[in-house]
């Protein structure tokens, strides 16, 4: 047993246990905190695989962004101390059966396929390489998806503002007309 293998098993046990608690805990705030730990464990797995850039992005975007957003929305919409109602027993039974069947099927497939036990060649991801390939316009460049994703982010931002904006109680035209009548009657 190598040290890195033991570390891998510890990290994966941490990820799986906290992930399972995140989907089964009945207090929603605890569930969000377990999700946070699971995402941190996944970042640790990326560090273990020596892709430090992805690990940093994972911590910044997921732990610093999405989980905080989820916790804010929990505070806006729920009484976070309350327990959620128990799911129906038959639903738990059938979904656990379906999930276990799918898990066994896919694990069996991976095991039977037998990826060869390759020595990892030196896989050094330099951030400068990532940046240059991201913005290059040659054959293996990723500038088109980069631009598409930037448009997507802009659209998502505008869409969020439009959806979550508080609608004015009256349509704008009527409100404007009323204001006009008020000012006329006053004068």
């Amino acid at each position: 047993m190598d040290a890195s293998i033991i570390i891998f098993y510890i990290i994966s046990a941490f990820i799986l246990v906290t992930g399972l608690l995140a989907v089964t805990s009945r207090k929603i705030f605890r569930s969000a905190i377990f999700l946070l730990f699971s995402l941190i464990g996944i970042a640790a797995l990326y560090f273990w695989m020596q892709v430090e850039f992805i690990a940093a992005v994972q911590i910044i975007v997921y732990v610093g962004g999405i989980v905080v957003l989820i916790i804010f929305s929990i505070f806006l919409t729920q009484k976070s101390g309350d327990q959620m109602p128990k799911p129906i027993r038959s639903r738990v039974l059938f979904s656990a059966l379906a999930v276990l069947f799918g898990l066994g099927f896919v694990l069996n497939l991976i095991w039977k396929y037998g990826f060869e036990n390759t020595e990892p060649q030196n896989f050094n991801v330099k951030v400068s390489d990532i940046g240059q390939q991201m913005l290059s316009t040659t054959e293996h460049g990723f500038v088109l998806p980069f631009e598409v994703v930037s448009i997507l982010l802009l659209a998502a931002m505008i869409g969020c503002i439009v959806i979550a904006m508080k609608a004015s109680p009256k349509p704008y035209k009527e409100a404007a007309l009323e204001v006009d009548e008020n000012s006329i009657s006053k004068s």
Binding site: G19, F47, I54, S95
Partner: protein
């Protein structure tokens, strides 16, 4: 301390002995995480917890991309790029989903999926 572990990772010969490669073990991990998220998606009825389950599923997919890139195609960077784009799109999706959830809470005073059934019939 961290660099000691990284050195240990670099210097090993055949990482997981006879019990399949490291790639197989990472794929086991990500598959299990995927189905844990699937279980949450099936059993939960609160929209925020469903969103958390979807985040777990997307993360398991990211682990797959990075692991395939590292162990099968170490000369390329495509898996890294795909996981970066998946992370970006997941962030946009979470933001839009939470905006919809908050708007739904304003009109229905509940974020249970059973209560939002106007479009069902």
């Amino acid at each position: 301390m961290k660099y000691f572990f990284l050195q240990a990772t670099l210097s090993r010969s055949l990482p997981f002995g006879e019990a399949g490669g490291a790639l197989t073990h990472i794929l086991f991990l990500s598959t299990t995480l995927f189905f844990i998220g699937m279980y949450g998606l099936f059993t939960r009825r609160n929209m925020i917890t469903i969103l958390m389950a979807v985040e777990l599923i997307l993360n398991s997919v990211n682990i797959n991309f990075v692991a395939f890139n590292k162990y099968l195609y170490p000369g390329k960077l495509d898996g890294i790029f795909f996981s970066i784009f998946v992370i970006t799109i997941a962030a946009a999706e979470a933001a839009v989903a939470i905006a919809i959830i908050i708007n739904l809470y304003r009109s229905h005073h509940s974020i249970d999926v059973e209560d939002a059934s106007e479009l069902k019939y």
